[in-house]
């Protein structure tokens, strides 16, 4: 892609101090999101993908040690004053958080919660905001939106709650939408509906789609970044990464899919406190060679716009 990135993450490090040591949840992450593209971010539980999404909006807990730069439209989000940041959140960058069940407030109706975002950011009156909330629910495919806007979250099913959250995030027409596991725990038919919804909304905005569901990324994204143990180990076009993966971890991940042979990767992911020396995947890697457990590889270009963090390509 030749045009300029909308969001640029440079050397992002996030650590959480714990009694056992510093948990390095994100380590020197570099990432670009271009205008109107959907970027998939995949990785397993604990690989740091949610932390990355939260760091962009500065939603991490105050004791997190954060270093690096997050450039969004010539501003560094990490150094922006809090009141400026508040204008970015929701209005310019929206987020759909994980666990739709707990993200909605159980004591307010869904319509009220969507209207709140609209009133806050767009200064609409009570009645207009309400109207907009109903429109938004309709746009995300909630049947009978007028009635459903007056219902409380517990009356919504998992898929509908997810839709309501997406409606809230879209309320102020953000240029970038961060979606953290929006299809988690949904059955195939409901998931399909959410994926279709995303393929409709991403035409005029950028989406960072965080998931561990490889198939969903294949459907939605043009580019994908793969995270392992707090690092990006591979990034490139979805076709290249999924059909010709360069990093042994990506290959192992794909081979563990039931459709592709269900061959597991031996061992388990390392603790983010005591990371293995050299390449973080080397203890589990079938292709590991002599230097892998000593030298830490950088991202190497293996094809046009396709990068992998592996000694094999040095």
């Amino acid at each position: 892609m030749t045009n300029e990135a909308l969001l640029e993450v440079r050397g992002l490090k996030v650590g959480f101090p714990t009694p056992d040591g510093l948990v390095r949840a994100s380590d020197t992450v570099d990432l670009e999101i271009y205008p109107r593209e959907t970027l998939g971010l995949i990785g397993e539980t604990g690989s740091g993908k949610t932390v990355l999404g939260m760091a962009i909006l500065r939603l991490l807990q105050p004791n997190a040690a954060i270093e690096g730069e997050i450039r969004y439209r010539d501003r560094d989000l990490l150094t922006l004053p809090e009141d400026e940041m508040r204008k970015v959140r929701g209005r310019e960058i929206g987020i759909v958080l994980q666990n739709s069940g707990t993200s909605l407030n159980p004591v307010y109706t869904v319509g009220t919660q969507i209207a709140e975002a609209v009133t806050l950011h767009q200064g609409l009156s009570g009645h207009d905001a309400r109207q907009r909330a109903v429109e938004l629910l309709d746009a995300v495919g909630i049947p009978d939106p007028v009635r459903m806007a007056g219902e409380y979250p517990h009356r919504f099913s998992g898929g509908m709650r997810e839709r309501a959250l997406i409606a809230t995030a879209l309320a102020c027409r953000p240029t970038l939408l961060i979606a953290d596991e929006p299809t988690k725990g949904l059955d195939a038919v409901t998931k399909r509906g959410i994926v279709d919804l995303f393929s409709e909304i991403d035409r005029d905005r950028s989406v960072l789609f965080i998931t561990h569901d490889i198939e969903t990324v294949e459907d939605l994204a043009a580019r994908v970044a793969v995270m392992y143990a707090g690092e990006i180990v591979e990034v490139g076009g979805v076709r290249e990464v999924f059909w010709d993966p360069a990093h042994p971890y990506t290959r192992g991940l794909l081979a563990s899919l039931p459709e592709r042979g269900m061959r597991p990767i031996p061992g388990s992911a390392p603790s983010l406190i005591t990371l293995p020396p050299g390449c973080r995947f080397s203890p589990r890697c079938g292709c590991a060679i002599g230097g892998c457990n000593r030298e830490h590889p950088g991202l190497v270009e293996v094809g046009p716009g396709h990068y992998a963090r592996c000694m094999l390509y040095d």
């Binding site: 397993e44 539980t45 099913s157 998992g158 725990g185 949904l186 059955d187 195939a188 038919v189 409901t190 998931k191 399909r192 994926v195 561990h212 490889i214 198939e215 969903t216 294949e218 459907d219 076709r239 059909w243 010709d244 993966p245 042994p248 290959r251 192992g252 991940l253 794909l254 081979a255 563990s256 899919l257 039931p258 459709e259 592709r260 042979g261 269900m262 061959r263 597991p264 990767i265 388990s268 079938g286 292709c287 590991a288 002599g290």
Partner: protein
Amino acid sequence: MIEVTDLETNFSTGFIHRRVVRAVDGVSFWIEEGETLGLVGESGCGKTTLGRSILRLIEPDRGRIVVDGTDVTALSRSELRRFRPRMQMIFQDAYASLNPRMRVSESVAEPLKIHRMGSRADIDRKVRELIEEVGLNEEHLNRRPYELSGGQNQRVALARVLALKPKFLVADEPTSALDVSVQAQILNLIRDLGRDYRMTCLYISHDLGVTRAMSSRVAVMLEGRIVEIGRTADVFDRPCHSYTQRLVDAALAGRARAPPERPPLPAAPTMVEVRSGHWVEETV
């Protein structure tokens, strides 16, 4: 081996305005010995209730269940308790299904103690064997569930079940909360152990890929009824019921848009260590 005839389970909700929900609505099927039957359907279709009803963890309202020649529906409470070791279940959330205060060694020993299977020394030895069989080791024996990962907890749950050498296992989405690489480990483990122990299995899942990999036959459930059942390949490749068609389409919608011109990449080659630090690609 397993024969379910016209099973019906109702739930009543509401305190003043009682309403009856028929979660399982006249279901009949059988499973051959050593076979795995997949059970698919969307959330709320009654898959879990069906699984639980067969084991009488929920009392069915009507129907007959025969497990290994015994009419389970006719058993009294105490007979049922004695029969329990032969039919077991593993759950979606292994962490929630394990007692948080028990160490792994206690958790795995518990079923052996309840069903009085051997002396203390026997049980101790048995627990160690089981733990190794499910791919854990001695250092895990003293851990509690919160000190283990999701995959490890599911291994502990499996060890508890295997301790009783059941003839019939109901697996209710045991991997839906796990990452794909861990899922592959657990699925392989369940498949291998099922073969070794000659277990008959009802495998509940909403993931068609997993179901295809795990079961020889599959049943599709919709609103409490089984709408299609047959050999997995037949049902998924040539679905006859419109609902099955929809399920398959939903799962395949992405595939259709994926580039078909290149064949799927062969799996990463397995490397074998021929001497210390010297690895070579395994020739199949």
